[in-house]
């Protein structure tokens, strides 16, 4: 039973770390702030969730496990609400979303650079 628990927890931790890697890939490749918010709020929070559940399985007691899951919940809250705050402020401040349409593509190509 404990061995199985250990295997499951290791699998969850590794899966979580891999989701973090995909999120970072998004951070490198995505063209503007609105798309990068997806990498942060989806891939990384899922990664943290998997990692937290993996570690909670190995925690010393129920209280410790609950604390680890509370951390995940807090990060979800902060990045979920924070993403809407940043996106609406950026839109209101004149940051245009990236568009990959043929007419706009030449202008948009310059957007990833300064």
């Amino acid at each position: 039973m404990t061995e199985w628990l250990e295997v499951v927890s290791h699998l969850l931790v590794v899966a979580g770390a891999l989701f973090f890697v995909t999120g970072s890939l998004g951070f490198i490749r995505f063209p503007d702030v609105f798309t990068r918010l997806h990498a942060l709020t989806k891939a990384d929070n899922l990664g943290l969730g998997l990692l937290c559940s993996g570690l909670a399985l190995q925690a010393d007691g129920l209280a410790e496990a609950a604390k680890i899951m509370l951390i995940w919940l807090l990060v979800l809250l902060a990045s979920g609400i924070g993403a809407t705050l940043v996106a609406s402020t950026a839109a209101a401040c004149g940051i245009r979303p990236w568009q990959n349409r043929t007419g706009a593509s030449r202008e948009a190509q310059q957007e990833p650079q300064e």
Binding site: I81, G82, T89, A92, C93
Partner: protein, 308 residues
């Protein structure tokens, strides 16, 4: 295994140097501030690697919450066009070389001082005295009993900083946000129970594990800053509450001094707490200083005297 540990440490050190360098030498002030916030995050990891969870906790509480908030708000008030500083190569043309020389001398002096530190440190002596201090965690014992004078003076320095900031002028009236942000009050409402619960937990834990008044006060202060951001604290700006605000700001220092003077009367030494009274006295001082520290951080965040 050891190679992985070494890789982890090397990555950490390289990241720390990179972030510190960028925070010092970037010309865009906002980018420099964000680098400093990231530097604080990695610094907490470094303290963890050095097996100093108490310092990591303080670094997290102060670096992630209050320092970032203060610097970001100050940046937002800069006049337009002041967001970019001058390139470091342009500052102090002739002073650069003496500065580098002085930094090398200072680093050498510190390295020499580290060699002369007593080994294996004072941990054993603190552990033998732990029985008499009234708490079972060595760091709290040192901060609030054995070297209480240092902590007392730190609180006094913070109070001095608040007085200095308030003497600069009336509190800043913030600009309205760029657009309606309905998420912000929701965020504050959801997080508020935790901003009360976590400092209480840290205070209670401080007696036997890493925690204590400074991190608790800093977290409570960060929660207060979140409340100030959504403008839920009207009373701090109102003139009729100003005597109360001043009283609360001084309360921690006053109680600390009272305990110190009580020690002087009972035992003949300033800040020497009798063993029987040690636990309740330390608890009272911790609660009062945590509340005062939280209010002081909020008062600093007003960037001036409220209600003037």
């Amino acid at each position: 295994m050891t190679a992985l540990t070494l890789g982890f440490d090397l990555l950490l050190a390289a990241g720390l140097i990179w972030l510190g360098w960028q925070a010092l030498f970037l010309t865009r002030r906002f980018a420099a501030v964000v680098h400093l916030m990231a530097f604080n995050l990695l610094m907490a990891l470094v303290w963890v690697r050095l097996e100093a969870p108490d310092i990591a906790l303080a670094e997290a509480a102060i670096g992630a919450g209050v320092t970032g908030a203060l610097l970001l708000t100050a940046l937002g008030r800069l006049p337009s066009g002041a967001a970019t500083g001058s390139h470091p190569q342009r500052w102090h043309r002739y002073w650069r070389y003496p500065a580098v020389f002085a930094a090398c001398i200072g680093a050498g002096w510190l390295a020499w001082g580290v060699q002369r530190l007593p080994r294996p440190g004072l941990a054993a002596e603190v552990t033998t005295e732990l029985e008499a201090t009234g708490v079972s965690h060595a760091v709290t014992a040192v901060l609030l009993n054995i070297r209480a004078l240092d902590t007392l003076l730190e609180v006094a320095v913070m109070l001095g900083a608040v007085m200095l900031v308030w003497s600069l002028g009336p509190a800043l009236r913030p600009f309205a946000p760029a657009t309606a942000l309905p998420g912000l009050p929701a965020l504050s409402r959801l997080l508020h129970p935790l901003f009360l619960l976590v400092p209480t937990y840290l205070l209670w834990r401080g007696a036997h594990a890493p925690g204590g008044a400074f991190p608790a006060g800093a977290v409570l202060g960060a929660g207060g800053i979140l409340l100030l951001l959504v403008e839920r604290i009207g009373w701090m700006q109102q003139p009729r509450f100003k005597p109360l605000l001043r009283l609360l700001l001084v309360a921690g220092l006053a109680l600390f001094l009272a305990v110190g003077l009580g020690g002087l009367l009972l035992t003949g030494t300033f800040l020497a707490i009798p063993q029987a009274l040690a636990k309740p006295a330390i608890l009272a001082v911790e609660v009062a200083t945590a509340l005062s520290i939280a209010l002081m951080l909020m008062a600093l965040y007003l960037y001036g005297e409220p209600g003037r």
